[in-house]
Symmetry: D2
């Protein structure tokens, strides 16, 4: 931690800051410049956590030198993690392909979709049972009934199944039915939910919040990890910007940034990132080329009849075409597809 | 609803769209342009809700003409609402002044603050018992113990008390202790929480999400209202932009926009919007001048010892100075301060 | 300047950085932490300007401690500046009211508008002769003919006149006709234009770029000032965000931030910030309450016939009503209106 | 064009709008809904360009149906363009690789870099002679002397050369020395410069503005094209968002969006997009995978001695490694590298 003093900070103010640091068992290094004095703080910063040094007389600002996340930080865990979910692995050397409808609408459409995406090479079936919708008047999901269909689809196809949970209650129910839960963009900082997901121990797909920084995203992962659950996969799904040509703006650079800062796997959701079916193939290729550990794609037996997200859903044929197109990109990144 | 066809849409495609609209009991008006054809849809749109018209052959895009929120929409309730909370009113003619510490730290500091803000003119005591914090290692709040202190502060001072709730469990507990609950920025689209707050019936202060549009914010309010709870006050607290000179960017225009679109009262949180104590007074004046129904301000007996948000908290003296400075602005906007 | 070393930086790397600093005549202060070492650099940083210290082995990042702008920096000029333009003053104690059409359309409409805004209390006539338009097919302005009309309007009314310049050629012409030039949002980082405006010596209204940080904005002002022209007034006109309910998002906090960082006056453009006529009055009140030194408002004899920006232009009656409404706010901020 | 009336618009207001449309030789189609009436306008909209229909009584808003750019619009030119620059082609089937220093520092470093990037497979040498810098005190470029070195580098190596121009004066000079000019992000809406670049006829690399929408970017290209210069290549270089982990946020989806809306080639600048050397390789792979027509990359003989952008510049070895890594991605996208 570095404390930057104001240009006009008195010697007394500097001295008080120094004393405060030292009285807490830390060391203070002073650099007295012509314009400003800076104070380097060395030692265990948790001792002064909560202290408002920026409010002390003469202090201009504080610059953090180290990240607040630890368990998910690559600095303390340099090797990339491989997460096991059901019968699949997510991480280096593997390509996780997750596909399925935005919302589970009924038993038959889910099973039909499961068979189709499995045939095309997916190892995971996604499907929404609890739908977070902007308007209270839009379809909200089948809830536990939907989870039951997911379980049946798993039994019928051998696919691993993943569902979003939007509340503690949904989490409690979902763990009984699915292999992996998803915490969506709108709940990325629902800290109660993160903690409970940490306690539940089940693998978690943690989507990036609509306007979350990468730092906040990793801190959200830390909430889960710090409760003892290391089975976390991150998912970049686009952030909100001024551009409206796509539903969100995919922050593709987030993949190499995450790779540099964390050991957790990270996948890409091209469906929510673009919101436009025609852009899913090029964006999926880019995701593999940039080094993503997988994709999560919306697929529907009849996108034009879908109860939600139709315009960004692929048909079975389109998804099959997509996985074929992706094969050489998977190979180039040293990943085994559909093992 | 307007359906815009693609430039090359076939007559058959246009015809199919028209038939679909009419087969659902709505009326379709065609405008055949030299470049494109547009289809105006007239009638009760809930009949085709969930239909993915944008996926039909030849359709380019859909333009919504009417808002999805109804109960909180000014169109259907032209008169501005006045919300009663405890012994105070929020809305036209009134100035709601809420103040208190970011986090409740202990019994004494809360009571001391309550007395100070009451003396300076506040009618509401704010204080956080459940703190949503970016890092899992930061102070998370006293929870029910904090709520108990709030209740005691109310009994001692007659102030109305307001607390943020961050989960269904917190909501269930809080309703037993406080006059108004707050749903914070990070939970603005925690739809389960919104629905339960709607069922609970208690007055709700609904903060705008960090990157929520005004439309999404009003839809979040609609979640509460559609469960039968009309006692909603909105709170603009700054949005996330690229500018880092302030903690967030206060969207001051949101106040007149809300005034035009909804009948709900709307207040401003200058503390979170700026994150800098020195900017709170000018921003508070601007908030009153632009027509806000009130303010929520962080006040702490000793900001430099605060467990959270110290740099943006006012001392008692500063808060008293603030309320004095605001008197003429309240008067100019026809509002009674501290009635 | 602070140099933060990587956690694993070798002693040799630290030593090389230290030697480099010292070999350039500066002083290096080392703080060796348990996790990282930081190096405080003291002395005249221009000696190592251009050096890429962040590329030296073991260096993680550089933190700037002091701003790159000097002449416009409040640190070196603590007293707020008052700028004289024609017969008016802009700065503390004064309220600059600028009004007029977006584009000068012809002689008569300009003169008519000039008389009307003068009567309502404006001291400045604004009017666009060179219009930066998104589409090449939109009206681009009358150019020198428009400037001639501005000069005539000044002679007829005694108003000071201000025009935007969009190129060196326009600047060269405009200085012969107007009292103040405006550099618009799209040209805020047209550095050639800034330098020439600096050399021209004429007062400059420098609008904030659509997505410029306050720091970049002050550096743009520094371009003008460093050429010897201290007559600069800043203008906040809204920044681009994801919110579309208003044309731009007025960053009202920018006013107190500028006040804290620079001695230059700063005014607000509520017309471009909101893009909606109905929001101009509340936003103008907020601008005065927050401490702005003035306003620049679009006024047109017949907004519905305007060649550009009609929807955000006020009629004469509306502008007169606006200035009346603003009187008490001007008084509260200690400013003389229409002196 | 669609005109949406207000819910309470009178029959007379609707009638006036209809008459206005028809009196201008266009056709108006009315759709009278239960809540609102909409008016579809059919015919040549240039007849009512400049009319402020949104200001007419009872009008709520206008929805544009067709784009304002024509020459660069794919609708009117469905085949993708291939642009010839010197001895190279940019467009489908080709991979344009541009490389060189951010700023031209002297003759030798430029020539040395030219030889190195040519050997590694580049067909274009980039180099800045006019540098737009945030601070007036930073290195501003060698200007004409730098252009002379570029010309000499071309003669020595056969590479095509490209330079940014930041003013009309720079443009006038540059056309005598280079094969292609670049209009940078800060000048994307410097409309005078765009028009002159259009008249000059020289191939133009048009970078996207820091916060320009894709629509505004294509309109900027239209400024050049409408002056008769069809030789335009677009360059995505990252947009400004709240995320600070990278210098800008590369909007990778912009590539397929441009592909869908325009026939112009589009390349990617991974150096400015990320600002971090380590991210350039993964982002370059992603750019090729998503379908970009080329890359422009900063390369410097000694990044740590560079006068600008050192941290994002590659060494010769790194650039050579990059081009090798990209070969299979070029092949997958059907492009010939270094033909």
């Amino acid at each position: 931690m570095i404390i930057i003093m104001k240009p006009n900070a008195s010697a007394e103010a500097v001295s008080k800051v120094k004393n405060f640091i030292e009285s807490n068992g830390l060391t203070a290094h002073l650099s007295e410049g012509t314009e400003v004095t800076i104070v380097g703080v060395v030692g265990d910063k948790t001792k002064i956590q909560g202290a408002n040094i920026e409010m002390m007389d003469g202090v201009d600002k504080i610059v953090a030198v180290t990240e607040s996340y630890k368990v998910v930080n690559k600095k303390f865990h340099p090797e990339d993690s491989v997460i096991t979910v059901g019968n699949a692995k997510i991480g280096p050397g593997h390509l996780a392909m997750m596909a399925g409808p935005c919302a589970i609408e009924n038993h038959d459409m889910l099973l039909e979709t499961a068979c189709a995406v499995k045939k095309a090479g997916a190892q995971f079936l996604r499907g929404g049972a609890y739908k977070p919708r902007t308007s209270p008047y839009a379809f909200q999901g089948l809830e536990e009934e939907g989870l039951q269909y997911m379980k049946e689809a798993r039994e019928a196809t051998g696919l691993n199944v993943i569902c979003e949970v939007t509340s503690l209650r949904a989490l409690e129910t979902a763990v009984k039915y699915v292999d992996m839960i998803q915490i969506g963009a709108r709940n990325m900082q629902n800290f109660e939910l993160l903690k409970e997901a940490g306690k539940a121990g089940i693998p978690v797909l943690l989507k990036r919040g609509l306007c979350a920084t990468i730092d906040e995203w990793l801190n959200a992962a830390e909430y889960i990890a710090s409760e003892g659950n290391p089975n976390i996969v991150l998912c970049e799904r686009g952030i909100r910007t001024y551009e409206t040509a796509t539903r969100n703006t995919l922050d593709i650079s987030a993949i190499p940034v995450i790779r540099a800062k964390s050991h957790l796997p990270v996948i890409v959701d091209p469906s929510h990132a673009t919101g436009v079916r025609a852009y899913i193939e090029p964006i999926s290729k880019a995701a593999l080329a940039v080094g993503a550990d997988g994709l999560i794609v919306e697929v529907h037996p009849c996108p034009s009849c879908a109860l939600s997200d139709g315009p960004q859903s692929l048909t079975f044929e389109q998804f099959e075409h997509l996985t074929e197109q992706l094969q050489p990109y998977a190979k180039l990144s040293g990943r085994v597809f559909n093992e």
